[in-house]
Amino acid sequence: MSIAESLRQAIAEEMRRDPRVFCLGEDIDVEGGFGGAFTVTLGLSKEFGHDRILDTPISEIMIAGAAVGAAMTGMIPIADVQYGDFLFCMMDQLADNAAKMTYMSGGTVKVPMVMRAPVGATTRGAQHAQSLEGFFTHIPGLKIICPSTAYDAKGLLKTAIRDDNPVIVFEHKLLYGSKGNRAEKSALSPVGEVPDEEYLIPFGVGAIRREGTDITIVATLLMVYKAMEAAEILEKEGISVEVIDPRTLVPFDYEMVINSIKKTSRLMIVEEDTKRNGWGAEVAAQIAEDAFYYLDAPVKRVASYDVPIPFAPVMENFVVPSASRIVEEARSIMKA
């Protein structure tokens, strides 16, 4: 099953289970339309109707604010933004209202909402390419998840929908496996097993994608696959890489990473977000603080260079971390 399909399944199952759950966003299921920019909500209105699969005007402030208001008063909105970049248009509602309402009210108000946002560079130019995780991990009160497989996408999204707090789901455009007109060139579109019986995946529990003994690589979303690709190559050179996918950034599974470092004593963080103050900076700083004495080498961050994402594929591919860049950095860490 593709990630787009597993997300759709998660939404459908939760909407069947709980009448409070509904979706809102731009073009999420107009008749004859796209089902959202990446087909995740395609066809859901057939079963749930257009009242619960609510197509909105192009009004991001309202979409986020309406989700907050609905969540505070008995509903569980799943809001959709066509490209993660547009979260900037609703930043105030997410940072000042969604994230702070429970706290400002002294714990008397809850805001059980989900905000879904596609990220990643896909040769669309700088305003349709950003990975925004680092902006949102910096906001107390939000939970941040980033599923990289169909299995995780379904299990984590269902957990997010049942969480009493605002959760932002970062999904990667090249991992959806969107079909037809919405298919993405150069997409990876991993398909994965998704069991028929219901399951949930708790936040804050990472997944070891590959075991290794020389270097620990922490990566999310598309970068998990780049890291795995690099690990294959490095193995041939006798460098054994352990790849950890934290799956959620807030909360973050530091225990898993530190246990891995105890074994490898080397850490590389790979993120598509730009480097300066990306989520990797926090993880690197935290690990350097908590696991300082287990480390034989400095924590290495491989991230997009600190530039807006360029349009030309040759430049975009250079800016975003590639398997070969990961391989090179790994080699130099081993030399260190």
Binding site: P57, I61, G65, M72, M75, D96, Y103, T108
Partner: protein, 317 residues
């Protein structure tokens, strides 16, 4: 309108006025932290709009929330305690003067981002409708807020979805120090409703009876599936924008003109002129309210402060 209702509304306005005056006094005394944005002069708006709401109805407010909150039923003690930053405050001392509220009585904790509460009100209205209740939401905001993008997106969404939202623009002529006619080119903000296919109406915001008439109509319309309305209440701040603001940007003649239209005094005069109560009866009732306010201050002062570590709780629900 029944006479008892008029008297009850006066009582509430008197409470709001004297609560704010008391807060102002205490603030100047230095016993209260932060800043205050008070609502003296705008009591007819809060009371007239909210008097007929049910507990299950909702209200969203602004950085100037005290009147709205008291009129929606947030307890006087918990309001006062919040101002004193006590753990018995309506926000446990975590919210403060700009975020008071109590969801258990339908008062959404106030949002201090100008117009930031409007999209939230749309969501509340959407929720009322989706849950098939006949509850409504009254959304307060100021004249200055009507120039925010959030205003536009919220008005349009409420209109197309026919939501039970009553948008109330408290036009007190100023956004902080800026006169509204310096920042809009039209005469009445109510004209903006037409851009969304919504009905807009200008109301004398200093006449609680007129406000309440408009309110009951708009609320009934929303409750019965008639959709949103936009009311522009013309009113005025007796106080500064915040803290110790001398209002040097306001014309004194303008101030006098408006102070003469004081909603509390007008209502009191109406009651006496129409013999709904005698001077004596009113004084008794007023004493009673002043007494409650003093008790609220005592309650707040006697209440425990939060512990420093309490700051670490309630980040998540």
């Amino acid at each position: 309108m029944e006479n008892e209702k008029i008297v009850s509304m006066y009582e509430q306005m008197f409470l709001l006025r004297n609560y704010e005056d008391k807060i102002y006094f205490l603030f100047l005394e230095g016993v209260m932290p932060g800043t205050i944005h008070q609502s003296q002069g705008q009591e007819a708006s809060a009371v007239g709009m909210l008097f007929d709401l049910r507990k299950a109805d909702y209200m969203t407010s602004t950085h100037r929330p005290a009147g709205h909150c008291l009129a929606k039923g947030v307890s006087l003690n918990s309001m006062m305690a919040e101002m004193f930053a006590k753990s018995t405050g309506c926000c446990k001392g975590k919210g403060g003067a700009m975020h008071t509220g109590d969801i258990s009585v339908g008062a959404i904790p106030a949002i201090a981002i100008t117009a930031g509460g409007m999209p939230v009100a749309v969501g509340v209205g959407l929720s009322c409708k989706m849950r098939k209740t006949d509850n409504v939401v009254v959304c307060f905001f100021g004249d200055g807020a009507s120039n925010e993008g959030a205003f536009h997106e919220s008005m349009n969404a409420a209109a197309i979805w026919n939501l039970p939202v009553v948008f109330v623009c408290e036009n007190n002529l100023y956004g902080a120090s800026t006169h509204i006619h310096q920042v809009i080119k039209i005469t009445d903000l109510a004209e903006r409703a037409a851009a969304y296919g919504m009905s807009g109406e200008v109301v004398d915001g200093n006449d609680v009876i007129k406000v309440n008439d408009a309110a009951t109509k708009a609320i009934e319309k929303a409750r019965t599936g008639g959709g949103p309305s936009f009311l522009e209440l013309k009113t005025y701040r007796r106080c500064g924008h915040s803290r110790n603001d001398a209002c040097g940007y306001r014309d004194k003649a303008e101030e006098k003109e408006w102070f003469d239209k004081d909603p509390v005094a007008r209502s009191r005069k109406y009651i006496l002129d129409n013999k709904l109560r005698t001077e004596k009866e009113l004084e008794k009732l007023e004493q009673n309210i002043l007494q409650q306010i003093e008790e609220a201050v005592e309650y707040a002062k006697a209440s425990p402060s939060p512990l420093p570590e309490d700051a670490l709780t309630n980040v998540y629900y």
